[in-house]
Amino acid sequence: MSNDNNNDNFSPLSETGSQVERYRSTRREHGLGKVLLSFLGSMEVAISLFVVVGIASIIGTILQQNQAYNTYIIKFGPFWFELFRALELYDIYSSWWFVTLLGFLLISTSVCIYHYAPMMLREWRHFRLNVSEKSLRLMHSSGLWKTDQSQEQISRFVQQKLVNGGYSTRLKNEQGVLTIAAKKGAANRLGYLFTHGAIILICLSALYDGNFNLKLRELAGQLKPETRDLFASQVPTISRLKAGDNHAFRGSSSIPEGSTTDIVFLQMRNGFLVQELPFNLTLHDFRIEHYESGMPKSFESDIEIEDKKTGKKITKTIAVNHPLRYQDFAIYQASFDDGGSIMDLQAWSLENGSQKAIRFKQVVGQSKEIDTAQGKVKLELTEFKVSNVQPNPKAGETGHKFKNMGPTLTFRIRDSSGQAKEFINYILPTQQEGRSFFLSGVRSSNSEPFRYLFIPVDDQMSLKRFFDFRALLNNNREMQRIAGKTAELSLQGNKPVKPELVQQMSVVMLRLAQLFNQGGFDQVLADINKKVPENKREMVTESYFKVLQTILGTVYLEVLQHEGVDISNKITPVQEQYYDDLVNTMGVLANYDAPFYLQIKSFEHKQASGFQITRSPGKNLVYLGCIFLVIGIVLMFYVAHKRIWVRIKSAPDGLANEILVAGSGDRHQKEFAQEFQALSQLLDKEFSKQH
């Protein structure tokens, strides 16, 4: 109370701020500790910290956080990589210096509360009855009235009006002077405490939920993140955390359908820790639903948890936005993956001279070595998708905007030097202008689009005819026979048939067929360009292609005949169309440049669901802090703190009473001036205004 007399007109957070300075100077104590304290609590430090934390945060948004270290090395080179690593820029928000900065912000706010809280509380509670007449006269809004009514009458009237206006009042009678102190919206002062207290509460609770304790244990040598690519069971104890050993974490775990786990991986810079859970988590089923456009509509996992201690089981379906909460753990649907689908595959060789097809089973996500003419290659199955919805080119005719192209398998073929090409094979044949093809895309790097190979499908909806055709082309002995036969047949017009001519013709045919087999029409053209002088090229090309078509046609007929097709009559248009497609595909096969074509005969789909599992005991405290923050902000900005004083005393002539009314509206002087005017009008009606 003693302060009230000295500071009766001060208002913290006032229009000019000078009052605060005045207040602080009265509190300023001496000694180094005190100086430091007052420095830490100063606005300059707070604002500087805002700026520094802001800038540091920006760095973290520009430099992608928590990538694999290799990515950074490639991006920055070894020198900058090391420097940035030393500055902990790859995980900036849990770096020592960033956490220290936040710590300073916390200290600064705490010191600030320490400085101002007593004053704010006083401001909130006290009415300041000990106000001097002089200071009242100096206020922005003030007025003087005179009346012959008694002090009690005046007091009752004025108090009634003030209460109507939302003010609460206190009264003091001292030596014949009646003072009424009224205030409204004093909770504004609590706003300060709520907001600043909330910041401290939020920061501390969030710190408790962060990985700060793990960093401390790492520093003490009790923990070491594992950086090798190991199975969870092989991870050594120094990188493992027991179930009750860690009060807060945020980790992830991927579980194939039908499997169970009791660990999560916690990422830590370029390594990870294995966190054991007090329960077993089983994934029974994982489902994806799609919109018509093929966009995913929902991801759902049927999970079961079994408490290791009590054996209690809980079954629940979780989805994005619908996690399972168990004790203080939460299990979120985070991602999905292939859970090891089994592919039944047939590799049709595309190499010259080879005609073997091998059949095997392989699990998605695994790799396998395959012998080819160029040595061993590695087949890596990377992704299996059950459906591929694409915009329908015939949307107008069918009314369906989208169509499902069926399952695809994405894989890489890596040669002995480590170079890889990526392929995507559609498992079902695709319709193109009424004909069916197997589609296979190929590219050499991720930045390229896929180039597609269309392999025609035969009457049996299989690839057999295509590869039989290739096999026959690759069979030298058979080809010699066919070439001889075809040459003889084609020369029947020129009687008598000279054997040397037939021989010559069959050699040409054989060579052209071989060239075609090696590199399609391009190869044939290249050969002509190399060997034939320019002026004769056009003529030679024309006749060579005629010859080539003849022998390829014969080979095709032989293949059909082998299938049991009766070729004594004319072949059907479908078979003729197939021949055109076949020759076209053979013609571009060289660009496909793969040792084999991989056909997916059947598959067994198995999915894995990715979970995020967290334990954040501080969460509710953070939310409480958030509620305080909002309450505080509303109080600070939308509750106006206003005070009015009324001082009633005998006029100098002793016959009447004098009423001095004054007030201040703190940050809302303009609104207060209006309010004061409204009060004045009422007083004018009752008393006589003095000037």
Binding site: E15, F299, N321, F637
Partner: protein, 393 residues
């Protein structure tokens, strides 16, 4: 000012807030609640508990808003009537949008947005003509156009909400899910905030400045929605966005963005007026520009309002993140930039309230603040990758 005080109800005379309400206030409030009740009766099967809660909380908020700021009553009635008219015209057939006259040219979502866009641009020009010519009539027309644009904008959003369900029930969602939709929301909210301060301060001359930022939003909207991007098509929601949180997080955020933008534009007006004073201008345009202390005051109030809503929105976002991504704070770029924006305005408010800063420096800061806000709003989606990438450019 003194006349207005006299007309005003004297707060020191005993009269409760409730008794100050007119018959129309009550009838209107009943209509709002009946509307909410009807919506609940019709669609409660599509709502979860939270969504029903949001529905009734919104009804209560609209009533409170309309009682405190009377023009909201007429505004809400106009929006409701037009939207219901459009919805009844559709009669469960989306294709009518192309053939029905009223829908095609007036109140299908796309047409309403077009009207909104045109009216905002015209209003911007109107306010500036008013400022330069001093014509009160032009000013009033510009103000009326701003109101109309704001009606059409909200009608556009509400009708789009219905249209999304007409496309397919499983596609239906509140239209605040991509950049196209939130730019409409941004325009409406900024305009409403402006109209409030226009009425409160009885000056039309801030209009041009504020509407300038809305017109820019409209230009972006037209380019993004109807230009090469074609982003005005309704798209289904990805699983992460299928939550009641979207209904509160996004609008709260845009009250913040809108208020900060408004403050920045007033900052521009302040700086212009201030430098005119320094150079000794004294022409009619100079005199028509609002007083510096009014600009300063409205700038402060807008930032305080924006800060309150931005804080709330960020908290709601954190709670949603805790539900969808498994943590209330992940230092995702969007989250981090929200923090940066928050720190920026926290610093602004500290300097004003405790250091007593006023005028020029804070006006400059508010203008720069717009760029920080803008980056948090669109820049993050354009340049940075993260979890919060719903509406890439």
């Amino acid at each position: 000012m003194s006349t207005s005080t006299a007309e005003m109800h004297n707060i020191f005379e005993k009269q409760s807030f409730w008794r100050s309400l007119s018959l129309f206030d009550w009838l209107w409030a009943v209509a709002v609640w009946l509307g909410a009740g009807y919506a609940w009766q019709q669609y409660s099967s599509h709502m979860d508990t939270y969504e029903a809660g949001i529905l009734f909380a919104v009804a209560a908020a609209i009533v409170a808003w309309g009682w405190l700021w009377k023009p909201v009553r007429a505004y809400s009635i106009a929006v409701a009537l037009l939207s219901l008219f459009a919805i009844s015209l559709y009669a469960n057939n989306l294709a009518l949008g192309e053939s029905n006259f009223f829908l095609k040219f007036l109140i299908s979502s796309k047409s309403a947005i077009m009207w909104m866009s045109a009216l905002y641009v015209l209003a911007t020009a109107g306010y500036f003509i008013g400022l330069f010519s001093g014509s009160q009539f032009t000013n009033k027309t510009a103000s009326a156009m701003t109101w109309s644009a704001t009606v059409m904008g909200l009608v556009g959003l509400l009708v789009r909400w219905r249209e999304s369900y007409l496309m397919n029930v499983d596609i239906g969602h509140i239209p605040v899910s991509n950049l196209y939709e939130v730019f409409i929301l941004f325009s409406i909210i900024t305009a409403l905030l402006y109209l409030y301060y226009e009425a409160k301060n009885k000056t039309y001359n801030m209009g041009g400045f504020v509407l300038l930022v809305i017109s820019s939003a409209v230009a972006f909207l037209l380019w993004y929605g109807f230009g090469a991007r074609g982003a005005s098509e309704i798209q289904p929601l990805v699983p992460a966005l299928q939550s009641y949180w979207m209904k509160i997080h996004v609008p709260a955020n845009f009250v913040g963005y809108g208020a900060f933008s408004l403050a920045a534009m007033l900052g521009v007006a302040y700086l212009i007026k201030d430098s005119m004073i320094k150079r000794g201008f004294n022409g009619p345009v100079f005199r028509r520009l609002p007083e510096l202390d009014i600009l300063d005051d409205v700038m402060y109030k807008a930032i305080a309002l924006g800060f309150a809503f931005f804080t709330l929105a960020t908290i709601l976002g954190a709670m949603w993140a805790a539900e969808a991504w498994g943590g209330y704070w992940s230092w995702d770029p969007k989250e981090t930039w929200a923090l940066i924006v928050w720190l920026n305005y926290a610093a602004w408010l500290h300097l004003r309230l405790t250091r007593g800063w006023r005028g020029r420096p804070l006006a400059w800061w508010a203008v720069i603040g717009l760029f920080v806000t803008l980056f948090a709003f669109i820049g993050v989606n354009m340049f940075l990758s993260g979890l919060h990438s719903y509406g890439e450019l």
